[in-house]
Each structure stands twice: as structure tokens, then as C-alpha cells.
Amino acid sequence: MYELYAQTFVNGINVGALYGLAAVGLSLTFGVMKILNIAHGEFLMVGGFFAYWLFTLLGLDPFLSLPLIALALFLLGAIFYKLVFASVARFHEEVKVKNSLLVGFGLFLVFPQIARGLWTADERAITPAYSGTSFPIFGVRVAYVPLAGLIVTVVVILALHFFLTRTYFGKSVRGTSENWKAAKLMGINVDRTYMITFGLGTALAGLAGVLVALAQSVTPDVGMEWTIKALIVVVLAGIGSIGGAFFAGLILGIVEAVGAIFMGPYSVALGLVIFLLILMFRPQGLFGKG
């Protein structure tokens, strides 16, 4: 019995780290730009397929492809910001959120179709030689791939934290999120900051995509599912809370994994229940300020 629970717990942490990484980018763009990009999961899907390409066509190890994917997805995000989201960012607060949701919704339709054209509708997974290998510890099997994924996630989130709190540009991003008008008055180019922030958000989604393709698999339709998970995590953590998103991701992963033992197929509904409870009783999230 102990082993079942411990193993489930470890699996939950592995999946939860992915949730966290997927959510961090979404949280960043929403916190800074007040734009909710529900096509976030689509960028994750694209990241996964890019890594799959690099792996099958060039034989590039997925962990080595991470920086390449981050760069590619950053550029893709910046382009999409300029193409569609820049004109959304000009609207007033509430219209901005609503229209960004609708535009993201449109991208939702577009991305899977393109992906199907490029990669077919088949399920794709990255399977380097070491995938599936694991080592035992305290009677639990820890697989190398998810463990490495967890480490990557922690490193990426720490790096993001460092960027936002220690670098000049990172501080200007935070300043813009707190008061964009004042940021302009300080000489910060808000439009450019938005573009870079959006690119960072999609780059983070891309990184998560690589890990998803490695630990699970990707299909052209996987985007929505990941957007939903990321949304639940963001609401759980409180919008804009970066560190909170990581821990909230872990919580969701563990709750789902443990829930599956008792509830079987119904356990996916757990996310919804948590989501609704949080909305009702703590809309600022678990880690947000009251």
C-alpha cells in the first residue's frame, strides 16, 4: 500500500512540474499584459513537435534542443504578438481581456490544422535511448526522464525569477505590469516590453512542450488540454504569481494522481471542482495577496 501511494505521489510530482511550467508562461503574459492567451497550449504543442522534428530528422537530443526551441518559440510568439495581439493590447481593460480570449480562441482553430498538415494527426513521442529507464529509491521507481524534466522546470523558473528581479529589463517588465502608464513616463517602451513578454510566455510554453513530448506524447489536438490545465493552475496560484504557479502545478499533479486511485475516470473532474471552489472562495488564488 505504501508503495502504491508513494509511487503515485512521485508520478504526481512529475506531471505537476509540467503543469507548473505550462502555467508559468500563461501567468506571466496575463500578469504583465492583462491578456489571457488561451492559445497558450497550442504553442506548447508546437514546441513539442519542433523537438520531435529535431530528434527524428537531426537526431538531436531533446535536452540539447531546449535552447533552440525556446528561441524558436520566442520568435514565433513575438511574430504572433505583432500580427494579432498588438491590436488587442490597445483596447481598454475589460474589452482587452475579452478580445484576447476570442482571438486566442481563433488561434485554437488554426494551430491544430497547421500541425495536422505538417506532422499528421498521429501521436508523436520523443524516445531517446534512456527513456523508460529508472532507478529505485525507498521502494519507489524514479524514472530519469521525468526527474530531468523536474530539474529543467526548477532551473527555468529560477532563471525567470532571476531575470525579473535582478536584471534591468526584467524590472522594467515588472514595472510595466504594475503601472504601464508610469512605465511609459519612465521611458520604457511598453509595446516592445509587451512583445518580449509575450515571446517569453510562448518560449516557456515551448519548453514545456518539449518535456511533454518526452514524458508523454503530443498530437495536434493536445493544445486545449494543456491550456485548461495551465488555466486551472493559474487560478489556483493567483494570476501573475510565478513561484505560486510552480507549486500550484505540483498540487494539481499530485491531487489528480492520488484522485485517480479512488475515482478512476472521474478524477479529471477534480481539476474542475478545485477550480470552481477557488473561484468561489478565494478568487485571488492560494498564493495571491488577499
Binding site: 488561451i38 494579432v84 476570442l102 482571438v103 482553430l109 488540454e225 479529471v268 473561484l279
Partner: protein, 306 residues
């Protein structure tokens, strides 16, 4: 006078639609017409909440699904008569919506949108897991399957949905809903109980979505239950409303006709499924640059004759 003309025109259109199956035997044409009618119901149902009340619901598929599942179940497996089954589907949907709506509407705007989106997707996953196999009509029904009665049921509910939206547009309740869309604070200050009317709009909207689900449940010979909750139902409804003209009576009708026609046309020239891509791009363009949709575009062109 204009009133009278519009009434006559509408009656004429309905009459033609009633007569069509008597003269047209091609089942593909009847199918397209049926689908157009189904989309009109679905789009109008979204329009009441999203277009008139300004509360965008990105989880509409969930309500279509609940209605379809309920109606199909009590019709096929519990032997309810068909009209009662479809009605029951609508009522079950509205009841479910009110349970969801209470927490969701306690918060403004964006949380409602996220909430509906998340809720629909999770329902899809749950039902996909719980009912993994396709639900097929019994042999007895399949043997006597006929398109015409499906078409008439679709026509009946499509007309009812347009009448409902027409009524909303000119009634006290409709004015209250539109005031919420325009400015919630001003609506409250003017005596509108915004929570009550949001819930009312939500109930009417989801009731109609449930009816649309019921009509589809009657139409489809076999379906996976998870597919009834597929996000595509939301997409189609939202695209039709926006492309046609959000918050208008005629917009969703024009949108539905345009949607079905263009979809057929595109499927002739493009590989399967690619029409979705076209619709996605079209939708984004409409949201960003043509907020009035086709109806708005026509009005603009009429004002500025070349």
C-alpha cells in the same frame, strides 16, 4: 408598414422551408438545410448570452452536450416520447447551467469566460472516459430512419429560437440584458438586478443550447458521447454569431447559411478539415477588424453607395 413587410417576408421564407422536402428529394440538400437550421438554433442560443447580454461563454459545447445526452438517453433508453425528451434535455441543461452560473457570475467578466471553457473541456474528458463507446440507435429505428421528420423538428426549433431572440430584442427583459452588456455599473444604477438578469439570460441561452443538442440527438444515427461535448460545437456557434453579426437577430441566420455553404465549398477544394483553418483566420479578422460581422458590413456598404 416596414413591420408588416418584414413579417410577410419571414412567413414566406418559413413557408418555402416547410414545402421544400415535398419537392426536393436529394438527401444531401436536405442534410445541408437541416445542418443550417441546427446551427441557427445553436448560434441564436449563444447569441442571447454572448451577443445580447455581453457574457461570452466559451464552453457552450457543454450545454449542447448535456442537452443531447439527456434527450438521447431518456428517449432511447427510457422510452420518453420525442418532444418530451427534447424538452427534458433543454430543462436539464438550464438546471445544470444555473448550478454553474451562481458561482461563475459572482465574479465579473473574464472569470466567467475561463470558467465555462474549463468546465466544458472537463465534462468532455469525463464523458469520454465514462462512455468510451459510440451510442448507436437501435436497429428498429435505423431501419425506418427518415430525414424529413428530423428536418421538420429542426425547422420548428429554429423558428422558435429566432422568435425567442426577436422577443428578447424588444422586450423589457431584453433591454435589461443589453444594459448589462453596455455598462454593468450604469445598469445597476438604473435599477437592473444584474445578477438576476445574467442568470436569466444564461438559463434561456443554455435551455436553447440543450434543445439544439436534443435535435442533434434525434438526428444522429451514432455518436461518441464525448463528441457531443467537443469544443467544435462552441467554435461553430461563436464563429457563426461573430461572422454574421453579434447581438443581432438576423446575423446568426446569415452566419449559419454562410458557414454551411462555405464549409461545403471549401471541402470541395481543400483537404479534409482545412476549412477549420479558414474559419479560424476569418474569425480573428472579424473580431479585430469587423466587429459588426456581415450584417454590419452590409449596413456600412448600404450607407455609402459607391
Amino acid at each position: 408598414m416596414i413591420h408588416w413587410k418584414k413579417g410577410a417576408l419571414s412567413a414566406g421564407i418559413v413557408l418555402i422551408l416547410v414545402l421544400i422536402p415535398l419537392f426536393v428529394q436529394r438527401s444531401d440538400i436536405i442534410t445541408y438545410l437541416f445542418l443550417t437550421l441546427l446551427y441557427i438554433i445553436l448560434a441564436q442560443s449563444w447569441n442571447i448570452l454572448g451577443g445580447f447580454t455581453g457574457q461570452q461563454n466559451l464552453g457552450h459545447a457543454a450545454f449542447f452536450g448535456v442537452g443531447a445526452l439527456t434527450a438521447r438517453y431518456i428517449w432511447l433508453h427510457y422510452g420518453f416520447p420525442l418532444p418530451l425528451a427534447i424538452l427534458g434535455g433543454g430543462l436539464a441543461t438550464a438546471a445544470f447551467a444555473l448550478i454553474i452560473g451562481f458561482p461563475a457570475f459572482r465574479l465579473r467578466g473574464v472569470y466567467f469566460i475561463i470558467g465555462t471553457l474549463v468546465m466544458a473541456e472537463i465534462l468532455r474528458m469525463v464523458f469520454d472516459n465514462v462512455f468510451p463507446r459510440a451510442d448507436v440507435m437501435p436497429m428498429k429505428l435505423l431501419a425506418t430512419y427518415n430525414l424529413a421528420p428530423r428536418y421538420y423538428v429542426g425547422l420548428l426549433f429554429a423558428v422558435l429560437s429566432v422568435v425567442a431572440v426577436y422577443w428578447v430584442n424588444r422586450s423589457r427583459i431584453g433591454l435589461g440584458m443589453m444594459s448589462i452588456r453596455e455598462d454593468e455599473d450604469a445598469a445597476e444604477a438604473t435599477g437592473v438586478n444584474t445578477l438576476k438578469y445574467k442568470l436569466l439570460a444564461f438559463a434561456i441561452s443554455t435551455f436553447m443550447a440543450g434543445l439544439a443538442g436534443g435535435v442533434f440527438a434525434y438526428y444522429t444515427a451514432a455518436t461518441k458521447v464525448g463528441d457531443l461535448f467537443a469544443p467544435v460545437w462552441t467554435f461553430d456557434a461563436v464563429i457563426i454569431v461573430f461572422v454574421g453579426g453579434v447581438g443581432t437577430i438576423v446575423g446568426p441566420i446569415v452566419g449559419a447559411v454562410f458557414f454551411v455553404l462555405l464549409k461545403q465549398l471549401l471541402s470541395l477544394y481543400l483537404p479534409g478539415g482545412m476549412h477549420v483553418l479558414v474559419f479560424g483566420v476569418l474569425f480573428i479578422v472579424v473580431v479585430l477588424y469587423l466587429p459588426g460581422g456581415l450584417i454590419g458590413l452590409m449596413a456600412k456598404l448600404r450607407k455609402k453607395p459607391a
